[in-house]
Amino acid sequence: MTTGAPLVAPGQGRGLLDVLDRRFLLRLIVRKELRVRYRGSVLGMAWSYVKPATQFAVFFVAMGLFLRLGDQIEDYAVYLFSGIVVINFFGEGFGNATRSIVWNAPLVRKIYLPRELFPVASIYVSAVHFFPQLVVLLVGTVIAGWRPSAAELAAGVLGLVIIATLALGLGLLAGAINVFYRDAENFVDLIVMVATWASPILYSWEMVRDTLPGWLFTVYQLNPITAAVELFHYCFWFPATSRTAEMPPNLWMWGFVGLGISVAVVFLGQSAFRRLEGRFAQEL
């Protein structure tokens, strides 16, 4: 029947490449995750609007009105929301990817399948939640008078790719560690909380430049999330304003640096994942 096939060692796949071969399974896992997430829920998918809407309202009132950031940053609502969608995509993807292996313990323990499927599916699910928010953002920015150029649109795409890549890489790493030490998921929640403030989502990058010493500002810009948030500002906010705001220098360069770092993180995450993967089944 299979005389041609070679003897292969079971359970040693090609990692993320195997995920590409099993897109049908990936799609079903994503559908399952979405279904399970909203079981017994009246609002269902609408929850993915409620959370960012609340977040937006709280920040807008506290930061924009009370702390008067709205006076300094033109169209602060659009500015704020274009950062919020980025960090939500990152936070949800990274957080769920970290928990994905443990959540799918019954499968991991009993059937061999490329385990990278689970973190990838988590990123996929968070992308499904991201797109409705993007639509809301688009509506808002169009109302504010959005006239983007092709380059500005491309910046948005790059920002999205950076975030998805970074979340996947970190999620692979943290997801593998989480199997052994459940501390990882709490640690990840902490990182996501800090990340919201460690990138120019609520305030402008100029405030950071004017406050931090030069080298620390460089570190700040090395953060791929900072790059992605600024690219999103450049895509969704800047073209809706009078175009007088100062965008960070070398925006594209930092964007590609951020992408490079994110890709490196994927390689790191994948190699750590593969090293630990052999012991997943017995540890869960």
Partner: protein, 240 residues
């Protein structure tokens, strides 16, 4: 003859780590107590299975049968030694492992088919056969959590036997459903055997597996202590 499964000098040790919190680690450090407790599940196991062979893995609880099956399916990795398999392996380590209670029967069939390595087309082609085999047509669009355990197992088994693998690993799943359905499952397994597929079966129903399989392999505390014609190995096991 082609080799279907080749296991050589495989060893598998489990670490039973009881305590891992910071407090417990500190206490253990102070007392100089070793935290890890290990357990040798398989010790230098070598086994070659030819294509089309049907092998019963025998042994009492804790003898390492399920561990060996998990190693063959790739769920676990050996500490030392090598394992090779030829063709697609479907490991039924536990029936319904990939079933999710919040999905309907239909969705679970798709998901499980995909998990067991079927393509979208294959699942769709065999969908009706799967449902017919499980005899739960009426409930296929009901969420699985409302199924009785019998219905659940039937559907899970039906997906598995339709997944068309070259190597079939079966762990205690022939105890599925009522007697007529069990007979149906056994018929199906025999059919797979007659089609020349490689089967490795773990079961505590000794007479049944002895009849079903040509070869028996007896494990005791992780060591192969007998390997031969299934009935004689079962006899040996009974004698102790």
């Amino acid at each position: 003859m082609t080799t279907s499964i080749e296991i050589s000098h495989v060893q598998k040790r489990f670490t039973l780590r009881h305590n891992r919190s910071l407090k417990e680690l500190a206490v253990a450090l102070v007392r100089g107590k070793d935290l890890s407790d290990t357990f040798l599940a398989l010790d230098d196991v070598s086994l070659t299975v030819q294509e089309g062979e049907t092998v019963a893995l025998l042994g009492f609880n804790g003898s390492g049968k399920s561990t060996l099956l998990k190693l063959i399916s790739g769920v676990l990795q050996p500490d030392s030694g090598t394992i090779g398999t030829r063709g697609r392996v479907a490991g039924l380590i536990e029936v319904g492992a990939g079933f999710h209670p919040d999905l309907t029967g239909r969705e679970n069939v798709l998901l499980n088919g995909a998990i067991l390595g079927m393509s979208e087309k294959q699942v769709q082609q065999r969908f009706d056969d799967i449902v017919a085999f499980s005899e739960i047509e009426k409930f296929i669009d009901t969420e699985v959590k409302f199924y009785s355990s019998g219905m659940f197992l039937r559907l899970a088994f039906a997906v598995a036997v339709h997944s068309d693998p070259e190597v079939f690993l079966i762990d205690e799943i022939l105890a599925v459903g009522d007697e007529p359905f069990q007979r149906k499952c056994l018929d199906r397994v025999r059919q797979l055997r007659d089609e020349g597929r490689t089967l490795v079966i773990v079961s505590h129903d000794l007479d049944m597996v002895a009849d079903l399989c040509d070869r028996g392999v007896l494990l005791e505390k992780g060591v192969v202590i007998a390997d031969g014609e299934s009935h004689s190995v079962v006899e040996k096991m009974r004698q102790g």
